[in-house]
């Protein structure tokens, strides 16, 4: 990424850190709600990368396409998160706990 504006490098680096943190939480935590939150942070990290990469023009004007992609991504993410929380809620209503039978996380 030679010659990239500083702001791009800063936020791209932040997105890498956020991806790492989210992945670590996803693997380590067994609680379902914690995993859903971690997935949202992961999503935010990917969005951050996209919008940062949109800022690489020499004159500083942003590329609108990644902005649109992120806008779409935000709406999609909230729909899926809403579904996940509703599922969790129903599981809790039926069984009194949010245990996935000893398997938390994505598996």
């Amino acid at each position: 990424m030679s010659g990239a504006p500083a702001i791009v490098v800063i936020y791209a680096a932040a997105s890498v850190v956020l991806v790492a943190l989210a992945v670590r939480a996803l693997v380590a935590r067994t609680d379902v709600l914690a995993c859903i939150i971690a997935l949202n942070v992961l999503g935010a990290a990917v969005f951050l990368l996209l919008v940062a990469l949109a800022r690489r023009a020499p004159d500083g004007a942003p590329d609108p396409v990644p902005h649109t992609l992120v806008l779409t991504g935000i709406v999609v993410a909230v729909s899926l998160t809403g579904l996940a929380v509703a599922l969790l809620r129903r599981l809790h209503d039926e069984t009194g706990s949010t245990d996935l039978d000893g398997e938390g996380g994505e598996r």
């Binding site: 999503g43 992609l69 779409t72 899926l80 579904l83 599922l87």
Partner: protein, 486 residues
Amino acid sequence: MSAAVGLTALIPLFGACAAFVLGPRGARAAGLLTAAVTTGLCVAVAAHVAAEGPLRTDVGGWAPPLGIALRVDGLSAAMLLMGAVVGAGTSVYAGAWFAADDRPWRGREAFWPLWLALWAALNALFVSADVFNVYVALELLTVAAVSLVVLEGGAEAIRGALRYLLAALLGALAVLLGVALLYGAYGTLDVALLAQRVEPGWATAVAAAAILMGVGLKAAMFPLHAWLPSAHANAQAPVSALLSTLVVTACWYLALRLTIEVFAPATGDGAAIALGVLGALAVVVASLVAARQRSLKLLIAYSTVAQVGYLFVAVPIVLGDPDAAAGTGAALQAVSHALAKAGMFLAAGGVLIAVGHDRMSGLRGLAAELPLLGFAFGLAGVTLLGLPPSGGFSAKFLLAQSAVEQGRAVWAVVLVAGGLLAAGYVFAVLAATVRAPRAPLRLRPVPRTLQVTAFALAAASIALGFAGEAAIDLLRAGAPFKGAVR
């Protein structure tokens, strides 16, 4: 006719919206009507492609890289057809399945908008030539599929749905990350343009790994398959049929497509061989686990993991084939598995109604009492084993032949060995159906519609074995595997 390409996804989408708004009164009617129209449309598009070659259209008239291109070549047409046949059969089955229960909220109204949305997502995937469009369609697929798993299910269904959702969400984000890297590297989201611009390097390699892991998760590729058995086993029968056939196959289709067109030019054989090895592992491990299951639906679900393994074994074979023979084999494998597996799950649903439980012991004596269901299991089993004259046999034959011609006979060995391993669980099912029951059976009546559709889909998988020539002709359209020539 090029407008019809987008309509294959738009019509079910519109139907889903209508079924949702209409609510309890009109959902089923809207659902069946839309299913009929969509089936006809997909068949028409496929027939057109077979006769006159591939179709292409730019949505809104905006050409890539600015806009989104849709295209139907031989492979897409085959996938559309698969969706049409399995979709039509399962829709008819579902119409009767949900009507068979009078409890107030049985989920029947919710089935139709969710299923139609699923179909829209599938078709959008099959015709899309834009990687971000693929991501959005995958997310639509996920919302619909997860919601379908929960329909009138108990705690186990909810757990299965949650595991599925978490895995699918992770997969989708992995795909998005890959898309971000591809756009960052090459400045376009269009598959054709990416294929031209792609070059070996870190960016492409990591993007490939991320995207393949993402779709692999959704396709239940080994070892990312752990969510599938509980999700498919605990869903209602028509839902299991749709998920185990159309959804996992669509994700495999994406892996194949992107590997051949975008990744292979940059990463060479590596990606394809990795997929093949994972597929081989799936065939071995999942077949053995399936044979040990006491629950019918779990057995069928593990069989799906094994059969998807075959599909991934096919990827390196297809990559090395200059002609469409191996590609036809792969497509035949996908479609015949879809038909057979749908028949199996639908038949299992019939068994559940008849006997009231899911254990293998409930199958005893079924061949005599419910012959249509018994035949459904039998024919589907023949296809899964890859015995002639089924579609499964033609598929494995084409693939094995191509593998040997390329000097990669090891894949052929895997295919044959897999067929033998499948015998483990197929015979477990068939043997149970012909064994005499311990006590006189008291079976509840199973509606004719359910029996006939299950049988019809399983029989179609056999009929596919006779369609070899036509299949090769169809799959040559648009040279979908030309990226394979190296």
